[in-house]
Symmetry: C2
Subunit: 493 residues, 2 copies
């Protein structure tokens, strides 16, 4: 265990190595024996469970229900929506057989050639096709609408270059799939969900995001419009953290989902889909953490407060524990998750480093001398500040401190983003400055050609056309042609 | 919608048709376009979520943590444990390729032959192999033990004959995988978890179960011992509802997972695994429901109480709603989930039938006359009894009624099981009586041959060697050879 605490690469040396180190050493995840697929370890999964629970509550509050659709999708379904298959065909895991047999020429098992499927099945890369094929039987009239379903599931996209949480062949996510009477309703749902994601990112992850619309090039395969929340990581790169798609009638037409409307005429159903994934874990790490390890927002920390005793001998421990247990009980009654770590096989210094690495927001240390003095040591993980405080009333102080930390790390991320965001009007200047990272608000002529040129020459992409902020028209920094408003360019994960 | 409420086959006509009808008409699940895979619809999924949440809490209370392991398992892993591969090879979905391409000879997409995997991957039928391959890196010393991990996941077993919830190619489940220093500890964990499943079944599902050990023939592939909870369905057939396996050192040896023990010697790690699945949904349905639809235990009902107004005109509705909303608020504050259905596009009679079909435990009806009289109509779903009661204090009555229903349906299931359980000592008598269904406590000589003969001749299997109850030895009903104790025979799902 002790070796885990050493050798966390500094961010200034290599940000990407720091990230990989941290994911491993904080016991969040590790590579599995299967190419591009990770194991999410218990501590990482505990954070994901907090994310899930909160999002699930927010989905239910907004009238959504959960359901479950098959993992496997008939190959022919993918082909039904032309852009969709174009977008996903190249990264599909394909099931072709349903049985193994003893190898007749050796040991072990081989695929049984007689168990070949008539039609190959694809492990879902996303579920629009199988869900819209199902919705056809659920919808006959406007009275059956809207349908507001969500699914928590695993999906698979056979990515060539993978990084834990950020891009893995298999990942966990939720995908909402809604069906509506009118274009207006479906568009309103699309926007409502990107706003919900934005609220979650900012209020729970303490991660500021910019809400906007994707350019046509960056749209989800099969969507008429893709809304996104874009966050800035500490290295100035963008991370797309959630998307919500207005699908128009594309999937309804592909799967012939019609309904009789209020005028008693048949029409195709309007759709949205939206999702966030375990990628949010990567976003969380790269927004707040530091060279000592994770920094977790209190609202998503599996352990919000750790209490560590300092003692010599059983007798001192008994006294310290009595006080500590009283604090534990009080904090728990206030809904705060707290761990009292009196394990005697690790030294206090080891524990300090370990809980710092794990990002526990508040650490309380209580020793024999504290008992005499009526004091306790409080450390906040975000600033590493230590204070000695009266133990009397410490619970209220901790509750307030958790709120302060949540607000402080949000503000810190917001300040960093502001410091690394700039307007640039000259393409030469852009090419120079993009090397330093950050968000660039630039005018763009709206064409895919210009977007492509910028991407090829600078590796920067349009992250989004922001919904809020400056809407002043101008001239494209590359072509000088008219631009409706500034858009955000950045290099991205 | 109205058509859904008709044509529920009576149990006396065809129990299996009744089951299928009910699953469809109560909107629990339906067949998907993929062979043997179901869609779990929102109402069915809401019940599953209640099951999940409760089990997850119980796992955490007993010190378990959640994690997530890959969906896909390298083919070679399966071969490492001889009995395991024997058990699962014949029902594996096999991924052989990772890309599709445009069909060069037509429209649509085909498998890209250049994207063939070097080693085929299997969609997990269960995760012992991938997990023990992972544990090898987590365990070096006894200090790393025990590991108490659980995973909520989808798994796939390519069954030839499927039935919704009871046996589907893909299903949802949880699988616990624990690692221990000693045989004793691993065995104790195995027993602890079958007891936990038993408590869950009886206290939450209101389903009496018999805990026991499987015969060698019926053991999990790779286990030294399999513990089971066996429930009796209304038709007298058994349903295996949860299993807990003592795996010995089989998987540790197959994946070379050794640790240095307290004597500083290397030893193989001891293991257990245990799981329950969406099959529990089938068990729930077939334990309690009737010809009018679902009967749900209050502790797992997504809606515990429905309130339906009876009114003419807006004015009456407003008055009734005022009273109803006060009851809703009060019930919610007591932690009871309640729905006030004042939708005006369905008649009251339709609503009555619909909530009966959906198994909502308590129905309250409030009309204009009730307002005058200070009364309310209460119906309990389990007995369909209606009572008129003073509206004053109705909330406390409802809370008590929910407890009564929970207890009553458990007792009813227990009584039915008792009525359909008998000791039989003659094989001729057994062959005759088995046609009527039920559990048969019989002596058996302990051999696989006798077990096989009975199965072939009667379709009955040994459900378990019960842990509790009569341990008197006797003589095998078939061979007359010595028997250590009576075991339970039944036909099973």
């Amino acid at each position: 265990m002790a070796k885990q605490l050493k050798n966390l690469t500094k961010r200034s040396e290599s940000y990407s190595q720091w990230y990989n180190d941290l994911v491993l050493k904080a016991n969040l995840a590790e590579q599995s024996a299967v190419r591009g697929c990770m194991v999410i370890k218990p501590y990482g999964y505990a954070i994901w469970e907090k994310i899930q629970r909160q999002l699930d509550d927010m989905f239910k509050e907004t009238g959504h229900v959960n359901a479950y659709f098959p993992l496997l999708i008939p190959k022919s379904f993918l082909s039904k929506e032309a852009e969709h298959v174009e977008g996903f065909a190249k990264e599909c895991a394909v099931v072709t057989h349903h049985r193994l047999m003893q190898d007749p020429n050796g040991t072990g098992v081989v695929v049984d050639p007689s168990a070949k499927l008539e039609e190959e099945l694809i492990i879902r890369p996303t579920s629009e096709t199988i869900i819209w094929n199902t919705y056809r039987n659920w919808i006959t009239s406007y009275r059956d609408l809207p349908i507001l379903c969500n699914q928590w599931a695993n999906v698979m996209r056979w990515e060539m270059r993978t990084r834990m949480f950020l891009r893995t062949a298999e990942f966990l996510w939720q995908e909402g799939h809604t069906a509506h009477e009118t274009r207006q309703e479906a568009e309103a749902e699309t926007v409502r969900m990107i706003n919900l994601y934005g609220d979650f990112a900012e209020q729970y992850m303490a991660m500021p995001v910019i809400k906007g619309v994707k350019s046509a090039t960056e749209r989800f395969a099969g969507a008429l419009d893709t809304y996104t929340i874009e966050a800035m990581m500490q290295d100035g790169k963008a991370l797309q953290s959630g998307t919500s798609h207005f699908l128009g009638q594309n999937f309804a037409k592909a799967f012939d989902v019609q309904f009789s409307n209020r005028e008693n005429k048949m029409d195709y159903v309007w759709a949205s889909s939206w999702g966030v994934s375990t990628r949010l874990m990567g976003a969380l790490i790269m927004t707040h953490s530091d060279d000592n390890g994770l920094v977790l927002p209190p609202k998503l920390a599996p352990i919000q407060v750790v209490i560590i005793p300092i003692y010599k001998g059983e007798e001192q421990l008994a006294k310290v524990s009595e006080k500590a247990n009283a604090i534990v009980a009080q904090l728990k009654s206030m809904g705060i998750s707290v761990k009292y770590d009196d394990s005697d096989n690790k030294r206090a210094g080891f524990k300090f480093a370990d809980y710092e690495l794990k990002g526990v927001p508040v650490r309380l240390v209580i020793g024999a001398r504290d008992l005499e003095n009526g004091t306790i040591e409080v450390m906040r993980r975000d600033t590493l500040e230590k204070t000695n405080l009266p133990v009397e009333g410490i619970e209220a102080h901790v509750a307030q401190l958790l709120e302060d930390i949540q607000a402080n790390i949000f503000q810190k991320a917001l300040d960093q983003r502001a410091a690394m965001t700039q307007e640039v009007d000259s393409y030469d200047e852009f090419k120079e400055k993009i090397e330093g990272g950050g968000f660039f608000l630039c005018h763009w002529d709206g064409t895919a050609e210009t977007e492509e040129k910028i991407k090829n020459e600078t590796k920067a992409t349009i992250r989004c056309i922001p919904l809020d902020g400056d809407k002043t028209p101008g001239k494209c920094m590359v072509t000088g042609k008219p631009s409706a408003q500034r858009v955000i360019f950045a290099r991205a994960y």
